[in-house]
């Protein structure tokens, strides 16, 4: 549903609003003849409704159209780039959640201590630092100064997992840090709230120490709002990959999108944008399923 509306909006903004997409794509220096030729090639002489339906049906058969700038099928172009962006996003999400939840738990278990203040102070700072600046600083420290990691580029997966992984670690970490600051703050406050629940007292009466209670009983309950936030954060993460791929010169979807914008490649843009929206929808569906695991009360039916 969301996807259908999104497709309609994207199509409307990119192909109907500008009036003549062909002219937009070719820029101001185009001659009327080349514009006419492109119009025919793109099928722009057909009414918008037919074009929209053509795009949607094409999507299901894998025919996304030919990129104007690259002169290759959009489908293949995107598939190639997904192999970079997807691992980057997944790695970033994993780093963000593990760092954020670990720090938030640490702060909550030592609530109102020096450790708590330090962790929360660092988190406040992490919120303020733009992820691409983290990226630049990492390049400066680990690549330029220490030489531990490549400063950018991507060797491809064919050259083995390790070099590819190495190329992704820094951008993923830079992406993850601001998100983990958000998650750390949320985890802490959610945990402290949970620690006031009755079943926490029950667990303490059983003989568990405060720390054991926090880890075994409070954490899982406290993670429900954290999960919600992770779902919401995915759109920030998508935004982040677009920027981060440009910082580290990674040949991923985000970089492709920025290049497509530069080249007015509307066909590429509309497919890419829809792909990003689709990813957000899928992630939210995954979060819904994860709710069930985190909180059995939210399960629709028992397996």
């Amino acid at each position: 549903m969301t996807l259908a509306v999104a497709a309609l909006v994207v199509f409307w903004i990119l192909e109907v609003l500008p009036g003549d997409p062909a002219a937009t794509m070719l820029g101001i220096s185009a001659t009327p003849e080349t514009i006419a030729a492109l119009r025919t090639e793109l099928g722009l002489d057909q009414p918008p409704v037919a074009r929209f339906l053509g795009w949607i049906t094409g999507m299901f058969s894998g025919q996304l159209g030919i990129s104007y700038a690259y002169r290759v099928p959009v489908g293949g172009l995107i598939a190639e780039r997904v192999a970079v962006t997807l691992p980057l996003a997944v790695l970033a999400l994993m780093l963000a959640s593990s760092i954020g939840i670990a720090l938030g738990t640490l702060a909550a278990s030592k609530a109102n201590s020096v450790i708590d203040s330090v962790v929360m102070g660092v988190a406040q700072l992490g919120l303020a630092i733009p992820n691409f600046w983290f990226g630049l600083l990492f390049v400066l420290l680990f690549s330029v100064t220490l030489g531990w990691f490549p400063s950018g580029g991507f060797p491809g997966w064919s050259g083995g997992i390790l070099p590819a992984f190495q190329a992704l670690v820094l951008p993923a970490l830079a992406l993850a840090l601001p998100q983990s600051a958000v998650l750390a703050r949320l985890t802490r406050s959610s945990l402290l709230e949970t620690m006031g629940e009755d079943y926490i007292r029950t667990a303490r009466a059983k003989g568990l120490t405060r720390g054991q209670t926090l880890r075994r009983h409070a954490l899982r309950n406290a993670l429900v709002p954290v999960l919600t936030m992770m779902g919401l954060q995915f759109s920030f993460l998508v935004a982040g990959t677009i920027i981060m791929e440009n910082v580290f010169a990674l040949p991923g979807l985000g970089r492709l999108l920025v290049q497509a914008i530069g080249g007015h490649d509307l066909i590429l843009i509309k497919n890419l944008v829809l792909l990003f929206v689709g990813a957000a929808v899928i992630v939210n569906a995954i979060v819904d399923i994860a709710y069930g695991y985190a909180d059995p009360r939210l399960r629709v039916s028992r397996p």
């Binding site: 303490r204 120490t209 909180d295």
Partner: protein, 315 residues
């Protein structure tokens, strides 16, 4: 087995519980009755060592000769659940919603090093059966929200008795339940007490419920002891005006002939606890003396703390 001597609890400058002493033998049940704010629940929490951090306890609590108030946190953790266990009022919220019943019951057994986790899991099933839940295997894999209130309270009891503690504290275990379920849970507690020989502190605001289970009863009001004695003696011949008021407020079968007599006034705020007898403001026999000084215990058929035991009508 349990000897509480001059246990006082304060919240900063405010006294939440005046020095209180009582004892409990193995196999015996002491009922503690009082309205909310009377200090009965914090007494229980003090014994468990689970008072909120803002509260301080003084005096001594001896469990099998060991002073609980002098123990450090890790020694207390070793005792909690193992030597003393507690059942809470709200079965709806007192169980962890994301953990199966079986795991919550088995947790204490493993924690205190009594069993391996496999043995504890099957022991949990046996305990679930013992507290009278149908289909114990299935129930062990259920989550709390899949059980009714009474079933959850049974699960709580199974959890509390899992390590065979010497002391079981039940804080209003039936107050949130339907009357019929209440009776079943009380019967279960009585059975288990007989079977295991553990001592039980049974806390309730309801004297009628207490009378079904407790050998002796302690009446608390406003953070101070009013009267303590054998339950039968206390019910048959209450000596303190407040106890008399409580008994008169219990609805009886012949409601048409005996009018219910509510106690006039309201429970004083803890912060504004008056000096002297905390009940003096609502007591019909209250005099200036009651306001100025706390009464000394008077031992007869029961022990009562009142300046005017021989006179007056009570509340």
């Amino acid at each position: 087995m349990l000897v509480v001597d001059n246990l006082g609890i304060s919240l900063g400058q405010t006294r939440a519980l005046r020095p209180l002493s009582f004892s409990l033998d193995a196999g015996e049940t002491l009922g503690i009755v009082g309205e909310s704010g009377s200090g009965k629940s914090i007494t229980a929490l003090a014994i468990m060592g689970l008072l909120p951090e803002v509260m301080q306890a003084s005096g001594s609590i001896l469990l099998k000769g060991e002073n609980l108030l002098a123990l450090d946190e890790s020694s207390l953790c070793a005792l909690r659940g193992r030597r003393m266990a507690m059942i809470f009022q709200e079965p709806m919220t007192a169980l962890n919603p994301v953990m199966t019943i079986g795991r919550q019951i088995a947790e204490g057994l493993v924690l205190h090093g009594l069993m391996t986790s496999e043995a504890a899991a099957s022991e949990a099933v046996r305990l679930i059966e013992r507290v009278g839940l149908p289909e114990p295997e299935l129930r062990a894999h259920s989550y709390p929200h899949e059980l009714s209130g009474g079933q959850r309270q049974r699960a709580m009891i199974a959890m509390a008795i899992s390590c065979r503690p010497a002391l079981l504290i039940a804080d209003e275990p039936t107050s949130a339940l339907d009357v019929t379920v209440q009776a079943e849970i009380l019967a279960l507690l009585r059975e288990i007490r007989e079977e295991t020989g553990m001592g039980m502190l049974f806390i309730s605001h309801d004297l009628a419920v207490i009378s079904k289970l407790a050998n002796r009863t302690l009446v608390l009001y406003g953070g101070a002891a009013m009267e303590m004695g054998e339950t039968q003696a206390l019910l048959a011949a209450p000596r303190h005006p407040y106890t008399r008021g409580l008994i008169a407020a219990i609805p009886r079968g012949n409601a048409h002939t005996t009018p219910l007599r509510p106690i006039r006034g309201h429970v004083p705020e803890l912060h504004g606890l008056p000096d002297g007898c905390p009940f003096h403001g609502r007591c019909l026999t209250g005099t200036d003396l009651c306001r100025r000084s706390s009464p000394a215990p008077d031992v007869a058929s029961t022990t009562a703390w009142c300046h005017h035991l021989d006179g007056g009508q009570g509340a």
